[in-house]
């Protein structure tokens, strides 16, 4: 575990494909012990079906996501003034909150450090460094929610053979991160903030519908017919930023090799399936592992796991108890 594993994990966030590594002696022993003993997929079918109907975490998450975005709406329309602004920058009971990458771009574009943005971005960084960076994606981001619905449509169409997923190289997300920043610095215009579907949706939720929603519809259509979850997987620099900032977050999904049936249901539902490569038979380097920093803590894998091998965990709590 330690530093080398963290660096390894960050390299995977930046686009490197996960590789098979030599397991620890305990893990090797467990892999050997499981060989030939594991249940075949059809023997597990009852558990798989039961888990597939379980939407506990998804429903909790959707409720939280809609609630948070509704708080923005109500703060304005009913004037309850709890969470004012939108997801690029806001005030929670008067305290500045600001999206880290958006703030970075704005400061690059105007070549000026705005103190309030720094305060807001640092506050937000502290929150996500604890809760797990990309929890923002699954638990707050409104685009994530509509993209999940588009993904359901994509999968339904793919099942009938009408569409097919065309994966992009994940490394392109780094190119976008650098490219949007370079454009902001060189042109003084924040192209990303104009394209950002999170901003478009967040503003629509608060200030009403706009033509800009057509751009979001276009992105969703692209994801339905061509590349599954394309924006979240390959483009979004906000997600990349939070993934890196929250790499050591104590709230995470953990993996237990012993109970894993390696049947692969989790990888089918995952937005970022490379983080679940450790569930492939023979891959886990340790008997217990944390799922990598690209994990959005969406909990779909926790819901769908037939053997309870994937769970949410708050690191350090066991040590405290």
């Amino acid at each position: 575990m330690g530093m080398p594993r963290l660096l390894d994990q960050l390299a995977i966030v930046l686009g490197r494909a996960p590789e098979k590594r030599a397991p620890s002696p305990e893990a090797a022993a467990m892999h050997a012990a499981k060989r030939g003993k594991g249940m075949k997929k059809h023997e597990l079918q009852a558990e798989i079906d039961e888990a597939a109907a379980n939407h506990t975490w998804r429903n909790r998450r959707w409720a939280a996501l809609i609630g948070i975005n509704l708080l923005f709406t109500l703060s304005y329309w009913v004037d309850i003034q709890i969470l004012e602004g939108s997801l690029t920058a806001s005030r929670l009971l008067g305290f500045h909150l600001a999206d880290v990458y958006s703030s970075f771009l704005v400061m690059l574009a105007q070549r000026h450090v705005a103190v309030n943005l720094v305060i807001g971005a640092v506050t937000v960084t502290l929150v996500w460094a604890f809760v797990g960076g990309r929890s923002f994606c699954a638990w707050v981001c409104p685009y994530h929610l509509v993209a999940e619905w588009a993904e359901m449509l994509h999968l339904a169409l793919a099942k009938r053979g009408w569409v097919r997923d065309h994966p992009l190289h994940r490394g392109v997300r780094v190119a976008f991160w650098i490219g949007f920043a370079a454009l902001a610095l060189l042109t003084g215009h924040t192209l990303f903030l104009a394209l950002n579907p999170i901003g478009v949706l967040s503003r629509a939720v608060v200030y009403g519908a706009s033509l800009a929603l057509l751009w979001v519809a276009l992105l969703l259509a692209f994801e339905v017919v061509y590349a599954r979850r394309a924006w979240c997987r390959y483009v979004c620099p906000i997600g990349l930023t939070y993934g890196v900032l929250g790499a050591k977050a104590p709230i995470r999904v953990t993996y237990d090799l012993e109970s894993c049936a390696h049947e692969g249901e989790c990888r089918k539902v995952c937005e970022v399936p490379h983080v679940l490569d450790l569930t492939i038979k023979g891959r886990a380097e340790e008997t217990k592992l944390d799922v990598g920093p690209d994990c959005t803590r969406c909990g779909l894998c926790v819901d769908v796991c037939p053997t309870g091998a994937l769970r949410y965990e708050l690191k350090g709590v066991k040590r405290l108890l």
């Binding site: 494909a17 996960p18 997929k41 059809h42 304005y76 004012e84 602004g85 939108s86 690029t88 920058a89 806001s90 005030r91 600001a98 704005v106 574009a109 105007q110 000026h112 705005a114 309030n116 053979g161 997923d165 994966p167 992009l168 190289h169 490394g171 392109v172 190119a175 976008f176 490219g179 454009l183 902001a184 042109t187 215009h189 924040t190 192209l191 903030l193 104009a194 394209l195 901003g199 478009v200 503003r203 608060v206 200030y207 706009s210 033509l211 800009a212 057509l214 751009w215 590349a227 390959y234 483009v235 390696h262 049947e263 692969g264 970022v272 399936p273 490379h274 490569d277 492939i280 038979k281």
Partner: protein
């Protein structure tokens, strides 16, 4: 690429094909990998190519938007705005609205449509400036008198009721106009619909009457003889103190308004010059040329 859905290692071998589809040529892992890189490069090229496209409305200045009080020079303002809309939320008369996608890179950036709803400074404290987290609305302004959004101009003198010596009786903009204005003598704290306020003026002087700045900005003067002046004919005269708030443009009973605000114009004697912000220094707004 192992992050694509790889075939399940333990999946039962080859499900029976339900329907025969034309089979795609099988690609080697290396070919598949190369394609993911190609698609990624293509996606990046497309999105980055949107920059010049989205810059068109701005470079060609398809619209001259009146920006909220304290806005930096247009270029700097567009760079500094994080498109959060906090200025929209604090405005007591909802004068500030956010631009839509047809403004390209200016999407989500606030502006004031003065004819529909002007900024009447009824917050007294420049709330929008205080709300702005980025300084796109400059915190250096402390009083409404320092604001320079633009300068008023009598664009259609022939339509001005004062110049024709005509009275104004009744509402300024008709019963359906939704705009709000603070009528201090009626209610100091709550802006009221313009449609509920009746006027009875022997000669129309609403722009001067409702100007939140007063005679340092706008005065009603006798129409000079060279403009066809005669007893009983008047004209509004713009002065150095004009903030460009747009109340005169909103309240003007002529349709379309006789008096308008030129966004980002700078006062220069009788005839002000248009000032379109380039990449200027911070805090140069409020400066006046003479």
């Amino acid at each position: 690429m192992s992050d694509a859905q790889q075939p399940e290692p333990e999946a039962p071998a080859a499900e029976p094909a339900k329907r025969t589809r034309p089979t795609r040529p099988r690609l080697s892992r290396q070919q598949e990998q190369r394609r993911t890189i190609l698609r990624g490069a293509l996606a990046a090229a497309v999105l980055f190519a949107l920059q010049p496209l989205a810059a068109i409305p701005i470079v060609r200045r398809l619209r001259d938007r009146l920006r909220p009080p304290g806005a930096l020079d247009e270029e700097r303002f567009l760079a500094a705005c994080i498109k959060c809309g906090q200025c929209v939320q604090v405005c007591p008369v909802q004068a500030i609205v956010l631009a839509d996608a047809d403004e390209g890179l200016g999407v989500g950036v606030p502006y004031v449509d003065a004819r529909s709803q002007a900024c009447d400074f009824s917050c007294d404290a420049l709330s929008c400036i205080l709300a702005c987290p980025t300084g796109a609305l400059s915190h250096e302004l402390k009083m409404k008198e320092e604001v320079r959004m633009g300068v008023a101009r009598l664009a259609r003198p022939e339509a001005c009721l004062a110049r024709r010596g005509e009275p104004l009786r009744g509402t300024a903009r008709g019963p359906d106009f939704p705009g709000l204005l603070r009528y201090e003598d009626v209610d100091r704290w709550t802006p009221m619909p313009v449609a509920t306020h009746g006027y009875d003026r022997a000669v129309c002087d609403l722009c001067v009457l409702e100007c939140p700045i007063g005679e340092s900005a706008l005065r009603l003067v006798p129409l000079p003889p060279e403009d066809g002046g005669a007893p009983g004919l008047f004209t509004p005269e713009v002065h150095r103190g004009c903030t460009g708030c747009g109340v005169c443009q909103m309240i003007c009973p002529a349709e379309p308004a006789a008096i308008v605000v030129d966004a980002r114009a700078v006062f220069a004697g009788g005839r002000h010059r248009k000032h379109r912000g380039g990449r200027g220094e911070r805090g140069e707004h409020g400066e006046e040329s003479s």
